[in-house]
Amino acid sequence: MAMSILRREGRRLLRPIAAIRSPLASSDQEEGLLGVRSISTQVVRNRMKSVKNIQKITKAMKMVAASKLRAVQGRAENSRGLWQPFTALLGDNPSIDVKKSVVVTLSSDKGLCGGINSTVVKVSRALYKLNAGPEKEVKFVIVGEKAKAIMFRDSKNDISLTVTELNKNPLNYAQVSVLADDILKNVEFDALRIVYNKFHSVVAFLPTVATVLSPEIIEKESEVGGKLGELDSYEIEGGETKGEILQNLAEFQFSCVMFNAVLENACSEMGARMSAMDSSSRNAGEMLDRLTLTYNRTRQASITTELIEIISGASALEAAK
């Protein structure tokens, strides 16, 4: 009777931990054949082994993400000077009112990188609401598998182009300018809004939206005045017309801003993955500690049970003598 109570005790201690009961319950029943010693320590031991493996894997993923981050971070910081001359010349107009906006959403292909992809998608959806109206339309261009998966569910009709596997080969300017060329050729736009995660530090990623205007809108705004009003005072060197130069300028600006955005997003992805994997391995470590305690407790309980059996058997024999 005492043995069955202790057996129930051991099982009660394990109940909060064991999530999957059905395959493990069969090993519980085997304990009758193997002897009381193996009372569910097998279960706990299996669980400990799997948690330890998970911890090793997440630690390795963190190391890999850290090394990749080191490689990309230098290039991203060097490319930060690239878009600044354009913003100094043309200004930054995120609140500009145009008929056709295209939102370019940058995200990662692989998962396990924290919340960066969902923040980018949330910002894109909010931009859609901001810019959609009676005569205005908003289209999406999606770069990366993760955003594609999320946006496909509700905004399928508004997606005009998707690009995946951008990060398979190391990023360089030629590849990004080909991508920019594709987007410019296939999508009509008055303003392009590129949404990405800017790499502020290893633990901080800021969702950012960079606006690139089409040459027609630039001309219109410069005539109207306001932020781009000073553009008229600039003389144009080379090329026949101002329109031609502005066209080249807008295309060049788009490819430069895209290049910086793609690099920053890649850095943010690596940084987010590092912190996600780090917290994951820390959680696994804590879980392992708790499981070890439980394991020791059940082991000691079974040893105590056996001792009681032996001693009570011995005392029964003595009493009989």
Binding site: Q84, P85, T87, S95, A126, I236, N248
Partner: protein, 200 residues
């Protein structure tokens, strides 16, 4: 959580943090107020995203008299070659020919063709071969030169240039489609410009 706290702190202090010393963990805020307001109407629970202007250092304003030095920012996709360097003159290869830029130059937007760009600082002259790009000359004597590819002239190998020129001339002669012709034409232009740069 700590990012929110620092943002609240910065918001409560002032909008412009130029007089306060910013923490290294402090996050810049979006400067365009109409965007922030429109955003709050659509998505009141979400912080508005940043915009590039909040990450840029402010540019100097136009001085009343012509400054003595020209400030040059020369950027490439993979590096900022010169940033904020004060020089006497730069000569850039615009599509209309070599253009000299002195402090106080008229504001200009110039498209660049493959050629030599030289930076003059006192008696120092540094020459780069630039593939193409744009140059913005602002009224405040700041020159922004953005090039797709640029190498210092010392690093160009003359024999490779000759080989490349011969190869592309031959490709141009044997090109069939418009695309191939255009590509070969570009190759010939760049290589002959490099040749001229090395000899001249």
């Amino acid at each position: 959580m700590f990012r929110q706290a620092s943002r609240l702190v910065s918001r409560s202090i002032t909008a412009k943090s130029t007089t306060n010393r910013a923490f290294s963990t402090e996050v810049p805020s979006t400067i365009d107020s109409s965007f922030v307001e429109a955003w709050k109407k659509v998505a009141p629970n979400m912080d508005p995203p940043q915009t590039p202007s909040s990450f840029m250092k402010p540019r100097p304003s136009t001085a009343s008299s012509i400054p003595t030095k020209l400030t040059v920012n020369f950027v490439l996709p993979y590096a900022s070659e010169l940033s904020g360097k004060e020089v006497d003159m730069v000569i850039i290869p615009a599509t209309t020919g070599q253009m000299g830029v002195l402090p106080g130059h008229v504001p200009t937007i110039a498209e660049l063709k493959p050629g030599i760009m030289s930076v003059h600082e006192g008696t120092d002259i540094k020459k780069y071969f630039v593939s193409s790009g744009f140059a913005f000359l602002h009224a405040n004597s700041v020159a922004d030169i953005i090039a797709v590819e640029a190498v210092p002239l010392e690093n160009i190998d003359a024999s490779q240039v000759q080989k490349g020129l011969a190869e592309f001339t031959q490709k141009l002669a044997s090109a069939t489609t418009d695309l191939e012709k255009a590509e070969a034409q570009i190759g010939v232009e760049v290589h002959s410009a490099m040749n001229a740069a090395l000899s001249g």
